[in-house]
């Protein structure tokens, strides 16, 4: 028999308790075990960085946020448009989709130096890397979503003499939305990864650059604070996508 589901209060309280227990263990157990602070600083030390260096963290958050957001919008928009083109032109899809898939096999870390070579050291290459990393999952999911209407649904629209554009707006696109939003949720995290990877390779600003500098200078509390901030950025983007999804998809 399946266990009974948890009450809503318990479903919230248990993860909070879980996180609190891990933070307490991290704060008090690791120093007792002799783990040095330059490897794993305590949560209070990391929190201290947020108090002491708040302006520095925000200065570095801003470019990463802009790059991740711009990459997210451009990458996903390009993927949606290409998916629409592919599902309406099967020959184009058969010709170019395998090549697109091949590009997807190139690791983003290997591709990033080339992108920086092409676009220089400004924000543009970071936006491009973030866009590239968002692009592929959305393209694949969007093609699947646009093709996910059943035969009966297509026949229903044919009986009604619907035009291609009506089929797109009234059937294919609404059918694709759940799959699109599942890729957007993934892209909300990968866009931040893309921006940070870009900053690692060629930048003196942004959370990626801060991570590299803190790592070289053994400022592990600052390093961990930058990691926490990157994670918070991904979580905020993820929550924004979920909020829009809940407003758009109500069934």
């Amino acid at each position: 028999m399946r266990p009974a589901p948890l009450s809503p209060q318990m479903a919230i309280a248990l993860p909070v308790l879980g996180a609190a227990s891990l933070l307490l263990a991290w704060q008090y157990l690791l120093p007792l075990l002799g783990v040095p602070a330059y490897i794993v600083p305590t949560p209070t030390a990391i929190f201290g960085v947020f108090q002491k260096n708040f302006a520095l963290l925000m200065d570095n958050l801003r470019p990463t946020l802009i790059e991740a957001l711009a990459g997210f919008v451009i990458g996903n928009l390009a993927a949606v448009l290409l998916a629409v083109l592919f599902v309406h032109n099967r020959i184009l899809q058969a010709t170019y989709f395998p090549i697109v898939l091949f590009f997807n096999t190139i690791p983003i870390l290997a591709l990033s130096p080339i992108i920086i070579l092409i676009f220089g050291l400004g924000m543009t290459p970071k936006i491009v890397i973030a866009a590239v990393i968002c692009f592929f999952p959305t393209l694949v999911n969007m093609i699947r979503g646009l093709d996910s209407a059943s035969d009966n649904e297509h026949e229903l629209f044919r009986v009604l003499s619907a035009t291609r554009s009506e089929i797109f707006w009234s059937l294919r696109l609404p059918r694709a939305l759940p799959m699109l939003f599942s890729s957007l949720r993934i892209a909300s995290a990968t866009a931040v990864i893309g921006a940070i990877v870009g900053e690692w390779i060629g930048s003196d600003k942004g959370l990626g650059a801060l991570i590299i500098q803190a790592s070289f200078n053994y400022q592990s509390d600052r390093l961990y604070a930058a990691i926490v901030l990157s994670s918070c950025l991904s979580i905020v983007l993820f929550c924004a996508v979920v909020l829009v999804e809940r407003r758009v998809i109500k069934y």
């Binding site: 026949e155 629209f157 044919r158 009986v159 009604l160 003499s161 619907a162 009234s170 069934y251």
Partner: protein, 257 residues
């Protein structure tokens, strides 16, 4: 009375003219306008395929077919045909009312006759008044099929094609919907082609029942039930004459399988 459907030596198959797997072979069928025809047969006998040819969803390989005196394509373009599928095919993101209104939003461009919004009237007719703002997942299977029928009737089609519409429902709901469908047919005078697996349903609903055999699909029995029923295609399920007709249909169906 004029015929709503006139099919002669109809061949239908899949895979192109040369290498076609024939689903229907040499089918001759006439259906009177305003009548209720049940189509019965084993799986793979081409019942649903026949409806798809009438609805212009599939082109025949050979033979001729006239629907309401015209080509299936012309009839579909005029939106004189409604189709109800086995699964209700409701769009899950649209409310019940918006599902019924779907024909208003699509396919109106090529139409000379504009369809009026009778969604509230139809929802009431189908016993769904007050359900207009619900989403399909909030309805039972029977209610979903009622919405699908309302949607098919919105354009006031002269011909209603129903492909096992109640096949997935429980027996009580199915019986109730059978009675509602007959009332609707008496009220609207629409010609109905009703595909079913159920002998009892075919005999109860149809003024006439045709039995198709498989491999390839062909007509093997054409039973006129009008002499056994009262005016308006009325009978009871326990009527001895209807029970005898069901036995006859069962024998034909056993031969067809």
């Amino acid at each position: 009375m004029a015929n709503a459907i006139e099919a002669s030596r109809l061949d239908v198959g899949y895979g192109g003219r040369q290498a076609a797997v024939k689903v229907l072979s040499g089918l001759d069928l006439s259906v009177e306008a305003g009548s209720f025809l049940s189509i019965l047969g084993p799986s793979g006998c081409g019942k649903s395929t026949l409806l798809r040819v009438v609805a212009d969803l599939l082109d025949p390989l050979g033979g001729t077919i006239r629907v309401l005196g015209d080509t299936p394509h012309a009839v579909r373009s005029r939106r004189d045909v409604g189709f109800v599928f086995q699964d209700s095919t409701l769009l899950p993101w649209r409310t019940v009312r918006d599902n019924v209104r779907l024909p208003l939003g699509v396919g109106q461009g090529s139409l000379t006759r504009k369809i009026e919004d009778r969604s509230d009237e139809l929802l009431e007719l189908m016993g769904l008044a007050g359900f207009g703002e619900r989403l399909p997942h909030q309805l039972s299977g029977g209610q979903r099929q009622r919405v699908a029928i309302a949607r098919a009737l919105l354009g006031q089609p002269k011909l209603l094609l129903m492909d096992e519409p109640f096949g997935a429902l429980d027996e009580i709901t199915r019986d109730r919907l059978n009675d509602e469908l007959l009332n609707l047919w008496r009220r609207t005078g629409t010609t109905i082609l009703f595909v079913t697996h159920s002998i009892a349903e075919a005999a109860y609903l149809g003024e006439r029942v045709v039995v198709l055999a498989a491999n390839p699909g062909r007509l093997i029995r054409d039973l006129d039930l009008r002499p056994l029923k009262q005016d308006g295609n009325r009978c009871t399920r326990e009527d001895p004459a209807i029970v005898a007709a069901m036995a006859e249909l069962r024998t034909a169906l056993e031969q067809a399988s």
